[in-house]
Symmetry: C2
Subunit: 319 residues, 2 copies
């Protein structure tokens, strides 16, 4: 679940006094999300999300995330908007954590991905990439290629306990990925975590994007690779090329890919798969048994990685 | 957290078609609660809670719980109301579980109990006890005294690993409690789990009671004992007699206790403490390391039990 920090009612009451959003009506923890504590907050002024930023988030980077969300909204991207307190500040403190109130987005994330979700995700991703262009501050991607070897080093010792052979397979794959990693592809602000639980739909249409706290400045096509991993595999981990084709065609209708970007799709997908395999492996090994978070199986991404390692070119993804 | 069963958007859409509550607007898992899966559901018709009943709930008993909630509301108790589908049925199925939609109650549960919460809780509990009187069907309390010895037997083998000596202390305490258990005290429908997270407050007033899925027909004063355990101990597990006095005085202003009920308070409190110590101990020993639920520390209730075992009479509770 995603409530790591409890907020006392007095503390919340005092916190809300700094805002012009009315009095508290309801306040419940939200089960979705794994990085921060999220609450659904209703006041006499409307519905909001209260986020308490937990230890994995660097407080110094919070203004960058909040600023990006404001910038994107001005460019027409539907995403949560930071609500400023009376003093003009959106980033505040509550219960020993940095905290922000954001607007509530209607919509429901798809628990089961259907092909008709994938086109709208591709369009939204391309629109996000174009909209990000005017936001000047950059944020290096801590979970990009430069971060993968250190991450592997911290968990490779336990990898064979998760599956025999993994301690050999992952370093070999990572070596090959880093050796082939593309240079000179177009860079911009990417969401970097656009999984189904971060995309809302309403009445069959994509209604908004949430959770920008992995966003960073990196290769734009790498964001597509994350989405291909997150949206286009079936429960049995077979790759659904129909979904991939729908996603890529919709993306290209808004932002066409260069020949170099297309050619790099296999290695970008390998990189995205190993990124999630490695963070999940690290969490799998290091999450205490009594933690509140369900550990996610790293092997799901090892199996995706194997698919991408065998992809010869972009035709594997339906284009 | 409290989302054990995922609900696909198609399944939810089909489920809602049986109701007259409009189209889906938002749907999020709720972090609170440990027994069932709860979702906050917004439709074009308003706000609701969707509950999927998980394996600890006996489906045959669900109509009793839903009927009690309807009965209590007719008597003026503010609690969630089952929403009936077009065919008149409130209890339905979704994603392989029994499921019900109930009304959304505004309010916030107190994360930190203050003395001024305890009077309203006492009043609400007494009002609940009076209001239950006309609901004729009974539900034996599976977690009442008859259930404690079997529960202890299933976990006593692991008790000394939780704290050395517990495998001796708990059977001795349970023997004394059962030997002294009162007969002939007034019986009625009790909530049996009226912890702070089941009581909402709004603008300083108690605004509603939720989660009736432990409700049963049992000694009314035992319900007070549950509340004394749940509301009147500080974080360091010292007993706050000011809170107890406020709760009991407010209860008695609506439903005065008989001399026999007062005299039984220590053993009723002992029983309530051992009931929560035993279910927590069982869960502590039997919850798999990768479960989604945070195990609650049984020792918090062993320490409450020790306090109550040393209580000579009702004066220990401020009356």
């Amino acid at each position: 679940m995603a409530v790591y920090t409890e907020v006392s009612d007095e503390a919340l009451g005092a916190f809300l006094e700094d805002y012009d959003i009315g009095r508290m009506v309801a306040f419940r923890g939200i089960a979705e999300g794994v990085e921060n504590s999220n609450f659904s907050l209703r006041t006499t002024g409307g519905d909001f999300i209260l986020t308490l930023y937990e230890k994995r988030v660097n407080p110094a980077e919070l203004p960058w995330f909040l600023g990006l969300m404001e910038h994107l909204a001005r460019q027409g991207i539907v995403c949560p908007q930071p609500v400023r307190a009376r003093d003009g500040e959106a980033l505040r403190q509550l219960s020993g954590r940095y905290a922000a109130v954001t607007t509530f987005l209607p919509g429901v994330w798809p628990r089961r991905v259907r092909p008709e979700h994938c086109g709208p995700v591709g369009s939204a991703l391309a629109a996000l990439h174009l909209a990000g262009a005017g936001y000047e501050a950059i944020r290096p991607n801590a979970l990009g290629p430069a971060g993968w070897a250190p991450l592997l080093n911290r968990s490779v010792g336990g990898a064979d306990q998760v599956q025999p052979g993994l301690a050999c397979e992952l370093p070999a794959a990572l070596g090959r990925i880093l050796a082939n990693w593309p240079k000179d592809l177009p860079v911009g602000h990417i969401h970097a975590d656009l999984f189904p639980d971060n995309v809302f739909f309403l009445d069959g249409k994509l209604s908004g994007l949430i959770d920008f706290y992995f966003a960073a400045t990196d290769i734009l096509a790498y964001d597509i690779a994350v989405c291909l991993n997150a949206w286009c595999f079936e429960q049995d981990l077979s790759f659904n090329v129909t979904k991939a084709r729908a996603m890529l065609a919709a993306y290209e209708a808004i932002r066409p890919l260069s020949a170099a970007e297309r050619a790099a799709l296999p290695v970008l997908c390998q990189g995205a798969a190993i990124r999630f395999a490695l963070t999940r492996l690290y969490d799998w090994i290091n999450t205490p048994a009594d933690a509140m978070v369900t550990r996610k199986d790293p092997l799901e991404y090892v199996r995706r990685l194997r698919f991408h390692m065998s992809a010869k070119d972009a035709h594997a993804y339906g284009i």
